[in-house]
Symmetry: C2
Subunit: 353 residues, 2 copies
């Protein structure tokens, strides 16, 4: 990979980060937070990462702010606060902050150094490696961005204490995905968890990051293998976008949406990539144990399928999926006939036996 | 350099480009033009580059449109017209089109292939190599962007026939700069030209591109040597920004602005980097022979100096210049005491002996 991947773990790594950044003699150092991490994480950041900071930039929390106007605001803030080519940016927050902050840093004055400190389970196990920076364009997720690794990612699980349960659930979906696409034993282990808490999940974070890192190192620009990480995401992104843009709908976090996507795509796999029906049922049952069922109306379905056509992973109008041949064995670029979509929604909505 | 630099020359290279692009089997191919190149170049492009095109995207011409809202429009157009990760973009136009189109391509779905066909002298000799893509942020030039080379750049001088004289003058300034910073003989040769026309300038385009390529290959990310290309640009950019944002001022093209910048910085060099006063006079006289004198008021000066503080090449509030020690011998990171700025304006405005 052109870019390096550097991940450090543990509370001491925050202190080490502050030393490293001091050694680099940046002309100025800025911290990006959102309104959540400003409230819940910033004080702890300063306690554990004793660094001289030239400015704290705050963006509004939430996926709906992962857009161009937030970038414009931050680029202007950096300019106004005197950031130059030798400045650096520390992104302290969940995936929205690290994705958007990474993009802002990569493009400000044609690129300044940036560091990510993910504070949610999802951003630790998913956004932390792979260098995918980016923002949404209208309802289209991550439509604009570039691929570049941060200088360093610090994984410190102390942040998880402040997270509500739905945030843990959201990250857990990506961990289950790592099992489903690459490691059946890991899937079995996670399946057997009886509750989701920061202490029950902490021991598995490194395994998930390692699984993802293996894939990303082999195919950084997603020409082939890396596509397996999109399992559940083709339908999941469309579902996420739909719930994001319909304010009368209940809030659906990224992982919650791709959990639905994985269940539906498990159904598609029984028709299009040879997944055993028993394994599809096992997948459905596992997700049902951890995730509340969402009621998706016929009208919702139609809107979701419209969004599906715009997914950036689709080539020239065909809708390609990453599907499972078996648990642990993914297949990429599987074309799915449109007639199966409605049945996939039915499968998700059907009662779990 | 991480990215390759691939430049082809001549009318046949347009045909070769169409073959190359066909071979690549992109899912779709788009052409970006501005309202000028749509009118003057598009037909000739289709005649010489017989390619199946999926869509022509048009942006408004002019530096004032090299901004985020144009990018947003183009990203949405690409989405709406079904562009995907395997699409590609051909930028047909001057530096604004290739800079902005490059940025749009590099960031659309985290990067699609792009090809540049510069149609102005300036974009041939300057924007064609070095991979600097980008847009302006308010009055701040090229504040946002990334460095990535296009797949290929086609230099074909047939386009120059349609250019007005001020556009030739604008490109010529960068050619003179290449002489001043790297090749005294080339400077002498250009100095001796008696008129600026596409036929008088054509023979020198490749020399200029070669001079720039040498520099860029040695230091693609502008850590040191590449900074010499900014000669004339520190003041020049501020002057350009000022005239761009003041609609009651006469139009000043990029090269016309940096021509003024080079004259003023020649003066600064006599105080700060040991340039012989006779060489500074020679520089002033040469530019005076090719460029109309601009009247810069005291109020203009103040506004220009304000903009100077925001130049992205300035580290932490200090204003660093690339100055000449002698013609052909540049010096980078020269700090200039503020007291010399007013005198540099005076030097530019003074009568040429």
């Amino acid at each position: 990979m052109k870019d390096h991947i550097k991940i450090t773990y543990g509370q001491k790594s925050l202190e080490a980060l502050s030393q490293k950044i001091t050694t680099k003699k940046y002309s100025s150092v800025f911290v990006l937070v959102d309104t959540h991490t400003e409230q819940y994480c910033l004080e702890r950041f300063f306690e554990n990462c004793p660094l001289e900071i030239d400015g704290v930039l705050t963006m509004n929390a939430g996926e709906e702010n992962k857009n161009l106007s937030t970038c414009e605001y931050l680029w202007n803030e950096l300019s106004d606060q005197g950031a130059d080519r030798n400045s650096s940016l520390i992104n302290l927050g969940g995936g929205v902050v690290t994705d958007l902050g990474g993009f802002v840093a990569c493009t400000f004055k044609r690129g300044i150094d940036f560091y990510n400190i993910p504070t949610t389970l999802l951003s630790m196990v998913d956004a932390s490696v792979g260098g995918k920076t980016g923002i949404d364009l209208g309802a289209l997720k991550n439509q604009i961005g570039i691929i570049r690794e941060p200088q360093e990612v610090v994984i410190e699980t102390g942040w998880l204490q402040t997270l509500p349960e739905d945030e843990l659930r959201s990250g857990f979906a990506e961990m289950l995905k790592h099992g489903l696409i690459a490691n059946p034993n890991y899937w079995k282990t996670l399946q057997s968890l009886t509750s989701l808490s920061s202490s029950s999940l902490e021991p598995f974070i490194k395994t998930s990051i390692d699984e993802k890192t293996k894939v990303v190192l082999e195919d950084p620009y997603e020409k082939g293998l890396r596509k397996i990480l999109n399992f559940g995401h083709t339908l999941g992104h469309a579902i996420e976008s739909y719930y994001l843009t319909h304010k009368d709908k209940s809030r659906l976090l990224h992982g919650e949406a791709i959990a639905i996507g994985m269940v539906m795509e498990a159904y598609l796999a029984t028709h299009c990539s040879g997944l055993d029906a028993a394994e599809a049922d096992e997948i459905k049952k596992t997700f049902a144990a951890f995730y509340p069922q969402i009621d998706i109306t016929f009208e919702d379905q139609n809107e979701i399928l419209k969004l599906l056509r715009h997914d950036k992973k689709n080539k020239a109008g065909r809708i390609n999926f990453v599907l499972l041949k078996a648990i642990g064995s993914p297949d990429i670029d599987v074309e799915v006939p449109h007639e199966f979509f409605a049945k996939a929604f039915e499968f998700y909505q059907s009662k779990t036996n």
